[in-house]
């Protein structure tokens, strides 16, 4: 009996505020009454006290979450994986602002959505107190009186004009535990999905698909023939490369040259030859034979022009970097390679 719930259905809005007043007069606390309707009625319309709306705080929390996420994301991107690009600083402010605003708003919106469910203890898939006719415009009043007040409350609701009054045994919150199953289900799907994608990522399952363009049976050309160079254009000659002869006047190994060389080395060489030149870059495991250890005796005893030539023309599996580096930049890299120590 203690858990009995009264569900009164009103055909019209007008008697509802009256019923609320009557229930309050008999000393029933406001939080034991719930009103359900198919149209949003404000508290004042129903003569109910205004409850605090928690959504603005939820939104603020979301904004903060989003801000923190974006800042960490940018910090990770720029500081852990620095990319020297287009003369921009390592942490460029205007692009960071774009990402910060976007992700902050993302945090706000997602938190509003999920916060709405949390604040209302949804989803609830059990058998909460409800009646289908509420969607047709009836107004449902749920009262959870004490044992002593049950009869009195029933009478008050009838007097106010409740068309239909049901006494239900059960808890309004019954079935609220269903959301745990729901969350576990969603989490399960995500975990299984992530696990399945890992099977592909680590090559446990392989799809025979040409993933490198080299292996692809492409049709058609993509690069069309260039039109002939206009008559007034000045032809540019590349450097003359002769064994044991400098290709161009070498750039002296000044501090500036070494610094430039270090930056260029990070961009163009380190991915294979490793940050310290020891041939253990990120991609080194893909090569057989592996990339040369630049600190080794074999490399260091080569004349400058040979290193220059290797950069320019490539060597074995090494790509030619002539298009990436101008001759003077190549000399900067040569100077830097010379400075590498075990």
């Amino acid at each position: 009996m203690a858990n009995d719930v009264l569900l009164a259905l009103f055909d019209d809005l007008d008697p509802v505020p009256d019923a609320m007043r009557k229930l309050r007069q008999m000393g029933l606390p406001d939080d034991r009454v719930t009103v359900m309707s198919s149209v949003p009625y404000q508290s004042q319309i129903l003569a109910r006290p205004r409850a605090r709306d928690r959504m603005p705080r939820v939104a603020l929390l979301g904004a903060i979450l989003g801000l923190v996420t974006s800042v960490s994301l940018l910090a990770a991107a720029f500081l852990l994986y620095p990319v020297v690009q287009g003369g921009q600083p390592i942490v460029p402010v205007p692009p960071s602002l774009i990402i910060t605003i976007e992700v902050t708003l993302l945090g706000t919106m997602w938190t509003i959505f999920f916060g709405f469910f949390v604040v209302n203890r949804l989803p609830a898939f059990g058998q909460p107190v409800y009646d289908r006719s509420i969607t047709l415009g009836k107004i449902g009043v749920v009262v959870r009186p004490d044992e002593a007040q049950a009869l009195e409350a029933e009478k008050a609701l009838r007097e106010a004009g409740a068309g239909d009054l049901q006494r239900l045994s059960g808890d309004e919150g019954a079935g609220n535990r269903a959301w745990i199953r729901f969350v576990l289900g969603v989490a399960g799907v995500l975990v299984v999905g992530a696990g399945a994608s890992l099977l592909f990522a680590y090559g446990v399952i392989r799809i025979p698909f040409p993933s490198q363009m080299v292996d692809q049976d492409s049709v058609g050309y993509v690069q069309g023939p260039r039109l002939s160079v206009p008559a007034e254009a000045i032809p540019v000659q590349g450097p003359v490369l002769l064994a044991d002869q400098p290709a161009l006047a070498p750039v002296p190994a000044t501090a500036n040259s070494l610094q430039r060389g270090a930056v260029l080395y990070t961009i163009d060489c380190a991915v294979c030859h490793g940050v310290h030149g020891t041939g253990d870059g990120t991609l080194s495991s893909f090569f057989n034979p592996p990339p040369a250890d630049l600190t080794s005796q074999d490399v260091q005893q080569l004349p400058d022009a040979d290193i220059f030539l290797a950069i320019t023309q490539g060597r074995g599996d090494m790509l030619k970097l002539a298009e990436n580096l101008s001759p003077s930049q190549r000399w900067d890299v040569v100077n830097y390679v010379r400075s590498l120590q075990k």
């Binding site: 508290s43 939104a59 994301l73 990770a76 990319v83 708003l105 047709l136 050309y221």
Partner: protein
């Protein structure tokens, strides 16, 4: 009409004489919110299409689904045989796929914008329009999101764009406009889905109650997530929707601005323009508003929703279309005037190509569709309330906006700073099939959606009808709105 069914109708004004009776009848014919019907009847007419299909429906589903299938197979073929199947060639390396991307994103931008802005500004006529607009956003955005992948060539390397610690030792570079773009699209797409769901929650509750049994009942029970319409749920829902709208409007502006920046950050002549951000946003809303009009007209006709979608809604959307046509013309003039005045050789070549060269028919058709036609028709209330006129104008705006994107992407790229590298692009079969498939995909998704969800927001109409009434001022009955929020 049963006694129970009358509950939500409210109290219709009692006419005092024949003239007033006439005024009431007129107002009710014109305004949905003054013409309440019983909840049962209204819900029945919205939910009927869910369980009943017609031959037309299945035919349309088959045709559109077939086109989508063809496009999907074409994409697979292109993945296997490489981008040589397309007409892409130096210097035009961005063409129809990217034009489609911008076009569909533009349509997608406008849906949630229209829904959110109309909600925030409390436009009374918005109620039946919002859901269709929101879903247009979701579907168009999903479609446009496919195009960078289609354009990628090696689509399976897409995940390299995602920022997570990985064995490759590389992170995506946030210096790049393309990276901002991907972030913005993912954010806008996911948020648009959540936004549409949030606003649909009470309707899902209604659908759950109206289908008493069967899989539809179980399905709506899960989607409605236990919605009961308690006082607290309503209060939090309304605040949540308002706050969500406030957040999603800047996201939308940002997203299409970034699409503009994708171009403006390049040093291609005629792209490198600081007005591109707002210019793209304006064009997006113009094409999006026109798309919402077309979708509404089709839904109204096909699902027999003439009661809900009335000429007043086309009137309102037509005004929006006109305003954004004017704004677009202003932006376009900005983008046109500065290069025209500057007479830089590279920009001059492109302007000449548009005005007198091979591209001039497209250029003139674009100006006609985006400026001349809307300005010539939409100023008139009589034409705006005529559904066929508004739909035809909207179709022209679609053509105009598509041409605008095509001109910016595929034609402009053919004229860069180096004359020996100039070229011309023609779309190949693969690109045409995939484009047709993309348009079909949006129609297909809409067809699936109307079978699974209520396309007209019931609770917003019921709320609007509760708030609106005729008030007598002197001899005239005037529609008035109760300010409750």
């Amino acid at each position: 009409m049963s006694e129970r069914a009358q509950i939500l109708v409210g109290r219709p004004p009692q006419p005092e004489d024949r003239e007033q009776a006439q005024q009431i009848a007129q107002a009710q014919e014109r305004h949905l919110l003054l013409d309440p019907r019983p909840a049962e009847e209204m819900e029945e007419s919205i939910l009927r299409p869910l369980s009943r299909g017609s031959v037309w429906y299945w035919t349309a589903l088959l045709i559109l689904g077939g086109a989508v299938l063809v496009a999907g197979l074409t994409w697979l073929t292109q993945m296997y045989w490489g981008m040589g199947l397309t007409g892409l060639n130096r210097p035009v390396m961005w063409a129809v796929y990217i034009a489609n991307f911008v076009y569909f994103i533009g349509i997608g931008v406008a849906g949630t914008f229209i829904s959110a802005v109309l909600r925030l500004l409390k436009f009374p006529w918005r109620a039946p329009v919002t859901r269709a607009a929101e879903m247009l956003t979701v579907f168009a955005l999903a479609t446009s999101g496919l195009f960078p992948l289609i354009h990628l060539g090696r689509t399976w390397k897409f995940y390299w764009m995602l920022p997570y610690p990985n064995q490759r030792g590389v992170w995506p570079s946030y210096h790049s406009a393309l990276m901002w773009d991907m972030t913005a699209i993912l954010i806008y797409l996911s948020s648009s889905v959540l936004y549409a769901w949030l606003a649909m929650l009470p309707d899902l509750g209604i659908a759950r109650d109206r289908f008493e049994e069967g899989w539809r009942h179980r399905y709506f029970r899960i989607l409605a997530a236990g919605w009961r319409g308690t006082e607290g749920q309503w209060r939090t829902l309304k605040t949540a929707i308002t706050l969500f709208s406030l957040a999603i409007i800047p996201v939308m502006v940002f997203m299409h601005t970034i699409v503009g920046w994708d171009f403006a950050m390049a040093i291609q002549p005629d792209w490198h323009s600081s007005v591109f951000g707002p210019y793209f946003v304006t064009g997006a809303i113009l094409s999006g508003a026109a798309a919402v009009i077309i979708v509404l007209a089709i839904i109204r006709r096909a699902l027999h929703l003439e009661y809900f979608v009335r000429p007043e809604h086309f009137d309102g959307l037509g005004k929006l279309l006109l305003v954004f046509s004017v704004a677009w013309a202003y932006m376009y003039f900005n983008d046109y005037l500065v290069p025209w005045y500057g007479q830089e050789p590279a920009a001059k070549v492109i302007q000449q190509l548009f005005e007198r060269g091979a591209a001039s028919p497209l250029w003139l058709l674009m100006l006609f569709s985006n400026i001349l036609l809307p300005w010539a028709t939409l100023w008139s209330r009589r034409l705006r309330t005529s559904v066929p006129v508004v739909v035809v104008v909207s179709l022209f705006v679609q053509v105009g906006m598509y041409l605008e994107r095509y001109l910016i992407v595929a034609v402009t790229l053919g004229r860069n700073e180096l004359p020996f590298d100039w070229g011309q692009y023609t779309p190949h079969l693969a690109e045409i099939l995939i484009t047709i498939g993309a348009f079909s995909l949006i129609g297909f998704l809409f067809l699936v959606f109307v079978k699974l969800f209520p396309i007209i927001p019931m609770w917003e109409i019921q709320e609007g009808q509760m708030l609106h009434a005729l008030r007598r001022i002197g001899a005239l009955l005037v529609p008035t709105r109760a300010e409750l929020d």
